[in-house]
Amino acid sequence: MDQGVLQELADRFGQAAVLAQPTRDGIPTAWVSSELLAAVLRYLKSSPKGAYPMLWDITAIDERTRVHREGQPPSDFTVVYHLLSLERNQDVRIKVALSGEHPSIGSVTTVYSNADWYEREVWDMFGITFDGHPHPFRILMPPWWEGHPLRKEHPARATEMGPFQMSSEDAARMLSMMEFRPEDWGMKRESQEHEFMFLNFGPQHPSTHGVLRFVTQLDGEEIVDVVPEIGFHHRGAEKMGERQSWHTYIPYTDRIDYLGGVLNNFPYVLAVETLAGITVPDRAKVIRIMMAEIFRIISHLVYFGTFTADLGQMSMVFWMFTDRERAFDIVEAVTGGRMHPAWFRIGGVAQDLPTGWDTMVRDFCAYMHKRLRDYDASVMKNRIVKARMVGIGTVSAREALEWGATGPFLRGSGVSYDIRKNRPYGGYDMFQFDVPTATHGDSYDRLAVHVEEMHQSLRIIEQCLAGMPGGPYKSDHPLATPPRKERTMHDIETLINHFLGVSWGPVIPPGEATFVTEGSKGNHGYYLVSDGGTMSYRTRIRTPSFAHIQMVPMMSRGLTVPDLVTILGSIDYVLADLDR
């Protein structure tokens, strides 16, 4: 990948201030000092040679026990800023080395608005303080938690921490700690004329689609402000990566965007393959893409159905779940599973397609086209539905970029950016499809983009059907897992390698790689750090829902509570994708 941006930084800030680090994924990576950080980010955000308008991710690495750090400056904790440029179609990674047990660094919320939640997450997970952060509170862990889970000294397993006990008094104490205090958020309890009402929405509410809480500050019916509270669904997926082998982590990825099935396996296996240098045979590529697109339709159908149900149109959810079952028939026939097939493997897929798969897929495509036309008539052209959606939760292209929106959300705001098209991965360059966009960025547009994407997915599936290549479904690379078994009974060397590959799992060479794919809800990215072991040293999962839910306050100010329901329905988020 073009490393020109690093030269540009060196020219601007001096050769000594910028230390380049080669990575396996080729994303330009530079170490800068914490004093220079804000200036570097501000420069990149409006760089004359191609701006980086989006802060894609902030995360950290606890480096204290890492062995392979060749060419990197000494650091106890490293904070990593990942920026995205549409103009250059390139990312850049800025790293800052921090020393000490509980280091601090300046907040960059004044440079990128969406740094707010990412910095809170880093504080919560690593205990790194961000000076000047407006709301330096925990975000994922409950307020009574002690310690910072992603630090190496924090236990990973619940069973290492003693049995869970909670009496009624404990529960009452915990609930009182979660009580909302407007003063913490700089909110007033009354204006000059009225007292505000604080309405609690969630964490148990049908319209939040899971365990997620919003506290709304209301002036009559009007929403003055909203404070989302997340973390109720935090399942420790990142820490889990540090104790599962590279191979046995695959089932955990399914459960990130739990409606997206193999769409989650995709970025993970691609990131591991990047680290290991594995190329995948064509048949495996096309099988992967076909299954991924089937899951995109499955996920979009749930979104479509539940969104309209939120607005009171109850029949669609029943129709769409029936369609989803038809797609699951294919998934069951191919993978044996339903929602979480964990079916991709490092170097290919788990199994070849069963005989007769093509008839099933062909029937499904023919059926689905007709159903989508029916939905156009009953939902997209329905004036009551339109009245609830049009003009609600409008997000401009500039705002969408500023807040890190990706996927159908970003395209609904008029930005044509689809990783499958702009940076074809895993074989997407072999396929013809369009990237649908809309113009207004309101709830209706986000839905319209999703609907059109289903048509495009069907188009891709039909191309897979027409041109499924022959050949192996898994790579012959020695790190492909599980290893090939055929020759194990012929020589001892192959037997030993097979035994180790199956019992301990593959040893992935040291290095770092991020892989970003187009999930059903936006960009999924896995940032993997290997220290040359059978497990990842650090697994960072960048998910779209986290970025999108952070935008809810901005989208809903000045509207009413029913509009908030529309906005949430239109976002297409899922709780495990939000809290991981």
Partner: protein, 199 residues
């Protein structure tokens, strides 16, 4: 009519059914278990799928999904019980009125499942009484319906006091049989597994 349940018998007089009052109440409870619209994670999606047309839990009298715990009879703990969520789960359970039942759906709710991790409670039965465990990750809608039917059977054979004046006051719940043991002979008969290479 789903009659002929425990204690409710058809008589020889056509459409006339005979039962003791306690049995009739248990029988009607069995066919009107209203679930609480509550879900924690992935399992909830499969629970919701069981409401939709292909599976349809209305066939078992559970189509009325209640948004408030005060109106619900059944809490399906569908999904991972997170440490941050645990006090809220207990709070909502305490808001449900007797008689109330709990189905523990999925491996996470049962034991933590594949999430032996700091933020997950290793089994909801550490703080809630569970009536039926449904296994799976997530259990298919069929498995959930099976759990619901099992619960219905348990509810029909439960003995509850008729009033605070009449009879013994305790609730006599039916025993929880182990399905693993019950189904072992049948499962052992299965010796040929279908190849995954065909449909």
């Amino acid at each position: 009519m789903h009659a002929e349940s425990a204690g409710v018998r058809a008589s020889t007089y056509g459409d006339l059914y005979l039962a003791r009052r306690a049995d009739l109440l248990a029988w009607s409870r069995k066919y009107s278990i209203w679930p609480f619209n509550f879900g924690l994670s992935c399992c909830y999606v499969e629970m919701a799928t069981s409401i939709t047309s292909k599976y349809d839990i209305a066939r078992f009298g559970s189509e009325i999904i209640r948004g408030s715990p005060r109106e619900a009879d059944l809490m399906v703990v569908a999904g991972t019980v997170f440490v941050k969520m645990a006090p809220l789960v207990l709070h909502m359970y305490e808001q449900m009125m007797e008689p109330r039942w709990v189905i523990c759906m999925g491996s996470c709710a049962g034991s933590g499942g594949m999430y032996d991790i700091y933020s997950v409670v290793q089994g909801v039965d550490t703080f809630l009484p569970v009536d039926v465990y449904v296994q799976g990750c997530p259990p298919s809608p069929d498995a959930f319906i099976r759990g619901l039917v099992l619960l219905g059977e348990a509810v029909a054979s439960e003995k509850r006091p008729l009033s605070w004046l009449v009879g013994p006051q305790g609730v006599v719940r039916s025993a929880k049989p182990s399905l693993r043991d019950a189904m072992r002979p049948e499962r052992q008969k299965q010796t040929d597994l279908r190849s995954p290479d065909g449909l």
